[in-house]
Symmetry: C2
Subunit: 616 residues, 2 copies
């Protein structure tokens, strides 16, 4: 067998071992010697002991949680710890030693992935306070909604106090302004107490443009590959074993010390790795082994819009062995039907059949030519279990990567929001909601930053404006650096009980309940999807040994009558988006009961969605 990466006998970073003792360990092959510089009334300097492969370490007494430190790499280079757990004074300041945590929440071992109903949230804008502790106060809302997993946008320490999180500079650290590791762990334990798993969004494809000092320590970057965010990380060049170890350790740190149940691997397609044993395989192996040792369920979910089934194919079958994968095609196909926009990636969509195909074969693009990408996209993936694929009406990307960050609520009617929710929540895929979506939040979610470097600030401003213009948008983007842009993104949570917002919330709850209670939305079985292009209507049937359901989705703005291939028998309407309790005007077109002899004519109202369950 190949030599596995031995990880974690001695974790990287500062590990508090007891009363006043800590081990410091850093990978710094560029440095001949590394000195630990501990702040205090009297500064202490402790030389680290060099080890094989460029590691340096020391066991140091007289160090308690709260101690702040740098590494002196020589040549005047005083640097924070690449594996810092906390940057209390920001990305340019010292690192802080934190206490050690328990490797599980008592009584909690995780949830199977197919139970996940995911709620993506950004800690800084989810609540007025923008902290983990404030977020805890809203968990009961999520539980009542039926959420089983919260997905945190990245919390790795970033410059300033406002950032989406993808500019993180310290892959082991938790943003201090959110509450640091203590805050995150309280949040995780509180989620678990509500029966909610926690997914953490982690970025292994680049590091933020400010506050990253990794290049001073060693060859963390591979200059021979470039990503849109700069040099790629070194996953296949000389010393890549140690770079892999660094990121795998970071993953294990969040799983064990922070109690995280799943990792969402950001933009895996921007990770370039031309080696026979992929970084993903090693990451998966290490995380799954650790989870199994701890008796917990931990999942790895890749974000990619490449539609590559190998990401979730077992390693023994030539795949990367991850557990879950993004499925953007449902969103693309859906948005093109709901809006008349054809900007950017939406130019490839617009047919009901594309959405139907996702229901049948998982991806709409499984090798077809994409005009937007100017090449073919994807690979056939019909054999992938749809319960490994994450889909959504919207997420932070599709909302935020618009000049004004408009949510779907600002782009389509109330009825169409309900229709969209039904597509995602009654699909065979894992659904993901973007915070506030469930009650039609109206605050935008524009791109925001709080960089410290004025040149960077200007470059981001210009880059953002150029990107939006290139996509074809004519509006000027909100200024990312302006604090008002960030404040604008905060949820107006009290909306959720008012008027149509409350009725939308009721619809989401019912959809999630139906999803949970009707076998067909969780268990394996047959699936059929038929597109009626002229009528802008989609018929989706799903069945297994015990049960049978179908859903009719109508994307048109006028009533239509179609002949559906409903199997013989009688079906009862279980839910319709046009019901008064969900804000309908009292005119439900979808019949209460459908009795078919193989084909049946049905009339649907504008933007109506209806779920039917076999009665007999």
């Amino acid at each position: 067998m190949h030599e596995g990466l031995a990880v974690s006998e001695r974790p990287l970073g500062a590990v508090h071992l007891g009363e006043d003792r800590a081990r410091f360990r850093v990978w710094a092959p560029n440095a001949d010697k590394v000195e630990l510089v501990l702040q205090g009334k009297l500064e202490r300097r402790i030389p680290l002991e060099p080890e094989a492969s460029g590691y340096h370490q020391a066991l140091v007494d007289g160090v308690a949680p709260g101690a702040r430190y740098h590494y002196d790499l020589g040549g005047g280079k005083l640097r924070p710890d690449p594996a810092s757990r906390l940057q209390p004074e920001g990305v340019h300041g010292p690192s802080e030693v934190v206490r050690s945590f328990s490797d599980h929440t008592p009584g909690w071992t995780g949830r199977p992935l197919d139970e996940y109903v995911i709620y993506e949230l950004h800690v800084g804008t989810f609540t007025p306070e923008g902290t983990f502790d404030a977020a805890i106060s809203r968990l009961s809302h999520l539980r009542e909604l039926g959420i089983t997993a919260v997905e945190l946008m990245p919390v790795a320490a970033f410059p300033g106090e406002r950032n989406w999180g993808y500019d993180g500079a310290y892959p082991f650290a938790v943003q201090a302004s959110y509450g640091g590791p203590e805050g995150l762990r309280r949040f995780v334990d509180a989620c678990h107490a509500e029966g909610i798993a926690v997914i953490l969004d982690v970025v292994y494809n680049h590091l933020g443009p400010e506050g990253t000092y990794l290049a001073d320590f060693g060859p963390y970057f591979a200059s021979y590959y470039r990503t849109r965010w700069g040099d790629a990380l070194n996953f296949d060049g000389p010393h890549s074993d140690e770079v892999r170890k660094f990121f795998i350790e970071s993953a294990l740190h969040f799983v064990t010390q922070m109690g995280i149940d799943a990792l969402r691997l950001d933009a895996v397609n921007a990770i370039v790795d031309n080696s026979p044993l992929s970084f993903f395989e090693e990451l998966g192996e290490a995380v799954h082994r650790r989870a199994s040792e701890l008796g917990r369920l931990v999942h790895l979910i890749a974000e990619s819009d490449d539609n590559d089934p190998r990401l979730v194919t077992p390693s023994s079958q030539g795949g990367h062995g991850l557990d879950g994968l993004w499925n953007d095609d449902v969103h693309y196909a859906l948005l093109a039907l709901l809006t008349n926009e054809r900007i950017g990636y939406l130019q490839d969509f617009g047919l009901v059949e594309q959405l139907a195909k996702t229901f049948r074969e998982n991806f709409a693009f499984a090798g077809e030519y994409s005009k937007y990408r100017q090449r073919r996209r994807g690979r056939p993936a019909a054999s992938v279990d749809p319960r490994r694929l994450v889909t959504f009406v919207q997420n932070h990307d599709q909302v935020g990567n618009r000049p004004r960050g408009e949510r779907l609520s600002a782009r389509v009617s109330f009825d169409k929001q309900k229709l969209a929710a039904a597509v995602v929540l009654l699909s065979p895929f894992l659904p993901l909601l973007f915070m506030g979506e469930e009650y039609g939040e109206i605050a935008p979610f524009p791109y925001f930053t709080s960089h410290g470097d004025p040149t960077l600030v200007e470059n981001v401003r210009k880059g953002r404006a150029a990107e939006m213009a290139k996509l074809g948008y004519s509006e000027k983007p909100f200024d990312p650096q302006d604090e008002a842009t960030f404040r604008r993104a905060k949820l107006d949570f009290k909306l959720r009980t008012t008027g149509d917002h409350g009725r939308l919330l009721a619809w989401y709850k019912e959809l999630i309940r139906a999803r949970r209670e009707l076998f067909a939305f969780a268990a394996e079985g047959g699936r059929q999807a038929v597109a009626f292009e002229d009528e802008r209507l989609l018929y989706v049937r799903r069945w297994n040994r015990d049960s049978e359901v179908f859903v009719i989705y109508h994307f048109g703005d006028h009533p239509v009558t179609v002949t559906l291939p409903v199997p013989s028998g009688t079906f009862r309407r279980s839910l319709a988006s046009s019901e008064a309790r969900f804000g309908g005007k009292g005119d439900v077109s979808a019949p209460e009961e459908i009795t078919s002899t193989g084909l049946v004519r049905v009339t649907l109202g504008p933007s109506e969605a209806a779920l039917y369950v076999r009665a007999r």
Copy 2:
């Protein structure tokens, strides 16, 4: 299913269709319009018709083979055809229309890969004349030696008249000074007449630094990946479908028009392709489909020292679906045992056990850490059929990538050359000989070029010297651009009948004969290899239902006695390197017969190799 690349309904380049008619087709998405400029007493200009996806084409009358042309891309850009078949005036000159060829040699359908005994040759230095026609005169020597496949170093048109071939600028063209397409096809037909298949070395990982005008035509390159030879080719970015098509068309051209039986894909590890459907899969699919349509056997063999079994794993099992793969580890392990050199990659080797491991599990490095590469290398591959793996005592790379280009004959004794040959030729792998090796050629094979650009000449000189110094060599390299360096590499073919050269040749012939006749070296069966580290001795046993053999290889310089785990029974010595007919001094130590009861003590002379076959 994914959309396959539709190739060859209308091939790229100038295709002669009959008496005086030709179709011209070029992929030039960067050009608004493309004009064909035909040379002649009167220059003719014919606008090409733009087609979808950036193609331009025209059916032109009054064009016979021999016609020379450029494409005018506008803006003063008069360029040769990227898919030129012949550059009669060099890489910067016009392209030439050539006749169309038959898609097979009558009576020849190829050979199964497991029959291949490969002879690598460089057309320019194999004969005094340096042409395909001159090479034909030596094919009877190869047939008598037992060679079943000739591997041509790259013949794609390169700058000047002297080049290893890896600076090729026109992937469809055949170097004019070698004899062009007519010469290559005569050579291929002559090989087939001798029962010899032809493998062509093709370079899809970069294009030569001089005479390449592809970037004027379209996005053939991917600037976001860099290889050691510059920007990588675009196999996964926008427009990559067409770039893939260009190279796949080139492969199909050589298979159909030139009659080539197999392609050796140069340095596939330098091809970066982050897409779900790999270029290799598509290339393999297209070539195998075409071969099957023609009723021929065509193989794709990847050169890579990454030890990645996925290259030869079927596409349906998550692999790239190629047929063969380089196995450098046998060479590395062998050379470290034969020489005391530990320079460059040899620093990772030196144990008999490493060679033993290749016999048992194919690769010595299957995930182990490599000091030379400063990372782990390879992936377990014991389940790969060894008859898919190409190995060698030496090839152009290991000979030529030394300052003075010394062959093994200049580095080790006559006895050790024989020992090395036995390791490779009696192995379960596909053996490859480097031209002249079979009779101990003494001419070196240094790196040579004949670039036209003085700056490039100087850069290559300096780069080469720097590379050799970095590897740890103290000698100054021969000047690549000096014609004497090239002339020095020409074989002294008459040596083959003289003294020890002739006796070495006899040994090679007998080894190849034994390989062919003794089932065990071709058919599947069990394999066992035991290393005796202190005695510098390797025992390799192979067996199947019908037969059983073992070989003893002794790498030491003094006689040794060891106890071998020979199975019960009697074995006859079939061949020993120390026999007088192979230049031994009349003192064969290896006994003529070995009768074992499970363990047996045997004495071997210095550098002795002996093959035993079960008698009863």
